[in-house]
């Protein structure tokens, strides 16, 4: 069993690392809601892919990146209208996704499954997560400046709008990798929850990122192994998300902020 699911577990662990990093930045940028919406934008694409028997990653990816661009455009504006628009996109994407997805594939697209991953799928997934990790590392200074103050970042020579788009695309790429085994509904959970947990425990930036990574890795490892060997589930997403949320609950007991 482990030999069959081994490559997927390795990919999941690297996804956990990327998700931890991306989540920390998303939390500090206060864009977790927009990020959550982005992950749901994959649903219509997944549904259409199942309907026309196309590779679901391609279908989900297409609407995911289209939606990312839409959210980026909306983020340039501020105020209630933007929040309302993002809320509407969220509801519409979920509704369209549910309507077009064949009933037998609906649960899989929402909550993921534990597929046997092809060597090409594994390789592409690894390239994607390593690209995310490397890019976030390269952009860390610009991202920190923008998180602190977009004005000061711009005055320092950072192209803030371009950086916002770059980050949203990295967020979407992370969601896309996680979508196969976490599902469209839960992919963003591993981005959001470990970062929120780590934030409860520390006020130091370096500790924050390390704790988010550790929480993310722990949730994925434990959730994956429990799903495969103990519960014999066909998906690991819900177990990972539940464990991750339990760790968040525990973090409230040791809140340092």
């Amino acid at each position: 069993m482990l030999r069959e699911q081994g490559p997927l577990l390795v990919l999941a662990l690297f996804f956990a690392l990327a998700a931890g990093m991306v989540g920390c930045i998303a939390l500090m940028k206060r864009m977790l809601l927009a990020g959550d919406v982005i992950s749901h934008l994959a649903l219509p694409g997944l549904g259409l892919a199942f309907l026309f028997t196309v590779n679901p990653v391609m279908g989900g990816g297409a609407t995911l990146f289209l939606g990312t661009f839409l959210v980026w455009q909306l983020q340039k504006k501020t105020g209630l209208a933007t929040e309302a628009a993002i809320g509407v996109i969220f509801a519409a994407a979920l509704a369209i996704g549910a309507a077009v997805t064949p009933r037998e594939d609906l649960v899989e697209s929402l909550f993921g499954e534990l597929p046997k991953i092809s060597p090409v799928g594994f390789l592409l997934g690894m390239v994607a997560v390593l690209f995310v990790i490397f890019s976030v590392f390269l952009l860390k200074d610009q991202l920190s400046l923008t998180i602190f103050s977009p004005d000061l970042a711009a005055a320092t020579g950072v192209n803030v709008s371009r950086l916002d788009l770059d980050f949203l695309l990295l967020f979407s790429l992370t969601v896309l990798v996680g979508m196969r085994f976490m599902g469209a509904l839960l992919a963003s959970a591993l981005i959001i929850v470990p970062a929120a947990t780590a934030r409860q425990l520390t006020n130091k930036l370096s500790h924050f990122v390390l704790l988010a990574e550790a929480t993310s890795l722990l949730s994925v490892t434990a959730g994956f192994l429990l799903s495969v060997f103990v519960f014999k589930f066909s998906t690991a997403g819900p177990t990972i998300a539940i464990l991750s949320s339990m760790l968040f609950g525990l973090s409230l007991l040791r809140k340092t902020r």
Partner: protein
């Protein structure tokens, strides 16, 4: 006269249909300390933001090729709950500009930012310490032009005095050019050698003694203004013969 560090021609900024700045032209020369004054809503902050290309505008803003800008904003919408220490913030700018770490230490020492303060979370810094951090942030990268938007707003008098003295000595030692937005006319009189006044009417620019007259202030603020004309004795002696390099 040397080439200007900054040349602004026919600058206009509009928000929606409302014109905030209309056809503004002026020049700033190396070593100038230009105070930008005007009533609330006159467009002082908007002008600084336009000069930094942070907002759309029409007209021409031309910085000299060797101008390196540092900016201290009036208010910063930074989330004080961020898990950033003062050092994280300065290191991010140093990293982005690829500055040697020695420069970070040097700027921190100049501004009296101790290791303890640098390690402190930004959320725990007092108003004065936070303002010092912003000034240190602006000074990283060895700027030769500093843009200050009411750098001491919401600070107590003593801290304000210290910060202005610090700016004054920095400007004197490094012959920096400064553009300073301030509501405090005594500060303007004390530190600026040129005053740019923005108002609904025609903007004007000139030395403080020409601009800060009761009649001009009445016209500018549409109300009688009182200010403390603070001139040190040694400055008083030289006041009449001041050139552009007063501050």
């Amino acid at each position: 006269m040397t080439n200007p560090v900054l040349s602004v021609k026919d600058l206009s900024v509009t928000f929606g249909r409302r014109a905030i700045i209309r056809n503004l032209s002026f020049e700033v020369y190396e070593g100038d300390c230009v105070a930008i004054i005007g009533p609330n809503g006159a467009g002082k902050t908007v002008l600084l933001r336009a000069l930094l290309h942070l907002i759309p505008y029409t007209g021409e803003i031309l910085w000299s090729r060797n101008a390196r800008l540092g900016y201290v904003p009036q208010k910063i919408a930074a989330d004080r709950q961020l898990p950033f220490s003062a050092r994280d913030l300065l290191a991010a700018k140093a990293g982005h500009l690829k500055l040697p770490s020695a420069e970070l230490e040097q700027v921190s020492t100049e501004l009296g930012l101790t290791n303890e303060l640098l390690s402190a979370s930004i959320g725990t810094l007092s108003g004065g310490q936070f303002q010092k951090l912003l000034i240190a942030f602006a000074l990283l990268g060895q700027p030769n032009v500093l843009l200050f938007d009411e750098p001491t707003a919401s600070l107590d008098e003593l801290t304000e005095e210290r910060i202005y003295e610090q700016l004054h000595s920095l400007q004197k030692d490094k012959s920096m050019t400064i553009l300073l937005v301030s509501h405090d006319l005594s500060v303007v009189y004390r530190y600026a050698n040129m005053v740019l006044c923005l108002s609904k009417g025609k903007p004007c620019m000139g030395p403080p003694k020409e601009i800060l007259t009761p009649a001009m202030l009445q016209d500018l603020y549409a109300a009688p203004s009182q200010y403390y004309q603070h001139i040190h004795e040694h400055e008083r002696l030289n006041h009449d013969s001041q050139d552009r390099r007063k501050c």
